[in-house]
């Protein structure tokens, strides 16, 4: 996983609530058996005027000029500003892969859907929850100031605006550590292999029907 420590970046505002993972990455792209290459299809249905196909070269596709990520001022954005319940719907991790592959390092919103939130943390894409009124203000500032950049400081758990205002955010301490060090869960969990085996041995005695296996 890519480490996340401190990121300063251009902010793109996506002013809609309940952005679902079907919009972030439409289903036809889920047929890929790879983890990479989803960035060009991010928000495909909103970003392009035609319907995208898997493995399609997007260079010649007609762009939707009204979609925020197509506006020249937001090219190169690395922080996405969003509304409530971002990432709702399907569990597809492809949504996170697409955001990260496009170049986003963080999404700021008043709330996230649970599964998306977990997926993001496991891929070095930082979901930052700020109060709705703060997000509202950030939306106004982004739209008013071309080139608007925010700094997200994970060790300090702070988002800093160009004028030096600082907004604190919460993050699960375990996930924070994983992000700071770029650690994957599996290696950490396997350090507790003995505890898992001991648990299984006990459960086999207590609830043996759970082990009448499907294999």
């Amino acid at each position: 996983m890519e480490r996340f420590v401190r990121v300063t970046g251009l902010v793109a505002p996506l002013d809609r609530a309940n952005v679902d993972t079907d919009q972030i990455i439409p289903k036809q792209f889920l047929k890929s058996i790879r983890r990479t290459g989803f960035g060009r299809y991010l928000f495909d249905g909103w970003r392009y005027l035609d319907e995208g196909q898997p493995d399609q070269d997007c260079a010649g596709r007609p762009l939707n000029p009204d979609f925020v990520l197509n506006q020249p001022r937001y090219q190169g954005a690395t922080i996405l500003l969003a509304r409530d319940n971002f990432g709702c719907g399907s569990s597809r991790e492809h949504a996170v892969w697409a955001l990260a592959d496009y170049g986003f390092r963080a999404v700021i919103a008043p709330s996230f859907a649970d599964i998306f939130h977990g997926n993001a943390l496991k891929n070095g894409l930082l979901p930052v929850v700020l109060p709705a009124e703060v997000v509202d203000r950030l939306f106004r500032e982004v739209e008013a100031q071309p080139g608007y950049r925010l700094t997200i400081d994970l060790p300090a758990q702070v988002v800093e605006t160009p004028s030096g205002e600082r907004f604190g955010f919460d993050i699960d301490p375990f996930r924070k550590q994983c992000l700071l060090e770029g650690l994957d869960d599996i290696g950490i969990t396997l350090r507790h292999a003995d505890a898992i085996r001991a648990y299984e041995a006990r459960r086999r005695r207590e609830a043996p029907w759970l082990f009448t296996d499907a294999g």
Binding site: D22, K27, D84, N85, R92, F174, D185, A207, L210, D213
Partner: protein, 471 residues
């Protein structure tokens, strides 16, 4: 000791280790796998030189990409075919049981788990699919995970996670005829919103839930995620136990007796505290129809498309305006005046035998309206299909002009060939009416199977109770 919720009881039994900050290593009893969210997880295992921790806990099935027409020639779409073949290869390589596309038991993962008795009360169950909440109908702790977590569970049989908050929804009263679990689910989402259950395990309780069949409870739990809750739950009772007895992978003999005894304790204690409680009386509930692009945009069939001008919150108003533009609807339109182009009866929400019976009861002796381009019935599994055929339901559907298909996810998310064209309007028994969900530009209205059947017959949305009374 204060009382515990059903969720807390199952959680407590599965804690392998807990850190002081609450980070928990949770043991997973059953891992269901499908072709879309697993290839990268298997690839991760291979790259790290790892093997599945307990391969007997894992069961796989291809469902999202499979064709619902004649399968003798395989999958035409080369990209879909590669994904299904990749699942076959991964399962063969790692020794995982798979119900392949040509297996009569193949079907939608959330239909076949319970059907095979792979879903049991008190289990922790995960799948790389948000509708895993379905299995909570059995008093199991079941939830959807991402692909990184699929890999994690394959490698360790555990998840690193944190305890959710507890929420209880009490459905009181008696459900009127012609109104179903789907209507309960939609009405609840309309009330609490698509983020109403975020961060919570949602337990469904009350007389109206106790009166539901397992199929109805599965529909209800299936859509917990549409209310933002990863987990839906219903306490174990005699209905649960009757459903499971004799299922292929359910315990037998003395082990069955012992399991049943343990399962009877799987209910929230009377004094258990919930972080949030909601109550909904179903006695006067009407059939529900969604009108927008989020499941919370829903109204009773007797209602009208709302006017965004009446919405004071600007973010919500904007969402309504966009939804109506996408759906091609005007504010104030009566829902009964909305004509449909296609009808889809299927999905992990509503493709079980009881759903097909409810739809067939409406269709019997009638014809699909000429204006409806296509009406599809896609059974949830090969065994549901076989059962329906044994009951003659396929004949009822075919004679009325429905297409009778092979099992799979089909038009719920249109990863296979079944999809809407741009601008086409569909009465669908699935779970998500998001933009483009059933095909780019397609317009989805979520309804119960009976309401979908009624829309097929009338060519527009109608109150199914009128058809049921006339029958």
């Amino acid at each position: 000791m204060p009382g515990r919720t059903l969720y807390d009881k199952i959680w407590d039994e599965h804690v392998v280790r807990e850190e002081p900050d609450g980070t928990t290593l949770l043991y997973i009893d059953r891992h269901l796998v499908h072709e879309v969210t697993s290839p990268q997880a298997f690839e991760g295992l291979r790259l790290a030189g790892r093997r599945p921790w307990r391969v007997e806990a894992v069961v796989a099935v291809p469902d999202h990409n499979v064709p619902t027409t004649d399968r003798s020639r395989g999958i035409e779409d080369p990209v879909s075919r590669v994904q299904v073949e990749t699942l076959d290869r991964n399962c063969a390589e790692f020794g995982i049981r798979e119900f392949r596309m040509d297996d009569p038991r193949q079907g939608i993962v959330h239909v076949i788990g319970p059907e095979q008795g792979l879903t049991l009360p008190g289990m922790t169950i995960v799948c790389g699919d948000s509708h895993t909440s379905t299995h909570g109908a059995f008093g199991a702790l079941a939830f959807g995970i991402g692909t990184s977590e699929v890999e994690h569970v394959l490698a360790t049989q555990c998840l690193v996670t944190r305890r959710l908050r507890n929420m209880r929804v009490r459905f009181t009263g008696t459900l009127p005829a012609g109104v179903y679990a789907k209507d309960m689910a939609l009405a609840l989402i309309g009330r609490i919103g698509t983020a109403g259950g975020t961060g919570c395990a949602l337990e469904y309780a009350g007389d109206a839930v106790a009166a539901l069949s397992m199929e109805g409870r599965m529909t209800l739990c299936n859509m917990a995620i549409e209310a933002g809750a990863r987990v839906g739950l219903v306490a174990v009772d005699e209905t649960t136990i009757r459903y499971l007895e004799g299922r292929p992978f359910a315990p037998r003999g003395a082990l069955w007796e012992r399991a049943v005894e343990a399962w009877r304790a799987l209910a929230s204690d009377p004094d258990a505290a919930f972080d949030r409680e909601v109550e909904l009386d179903v006695s006067s509930l009407e059939p529900q129809v969604t009108w927008g692009t989020s499941p919370e945009m829903v109204a009773p069939i007797g209602g009208r498309v709302p006017d965004p001008a009446d919405e004071p919150d600007p973010v919500r108003r904007g969402a309504m305006e966009r939804a109506l533009a996408y759906m091609g609807l005007e504010p104030g339109t009566r829902l009964e005046a909305i004509a449909v182009d296609r009808v889809f009866i299927g999905s992990c929400t509503n493709a079980r035998i009881e759903d097909l019976r409810a739809a067939a009861a409406v269709v019997r002796g009638r014809r699909v309206a000429r204006t409806v381009r296509q009406a599809l019935v896609v059974p949830g599994s090969g065994l549901v299909k076989r059962q329906a055929e044994a009951e003659g339901l396929d004949r009822i559907f075919r004679e009325a002009g429905f297409e009778w298909r092979e099992p799979g996810c089909s038009m719920c998310l249109a990863m296979n060939a079944d999809r809407l064209g741009p601008g086409e309007r569909c009465a669908s028994t699935s779970n998500r009416n998001f933009e483009g969900r059933q095909g780019a530009g397609g317009r989805t209205h979520l309804v119960s199977p009976a309401m979908a059947a009624a829309a097929a017959i009338a060519g527009r949305f109608v109150d199914v109770r009128e058809l049921l009374e006339a029958a």
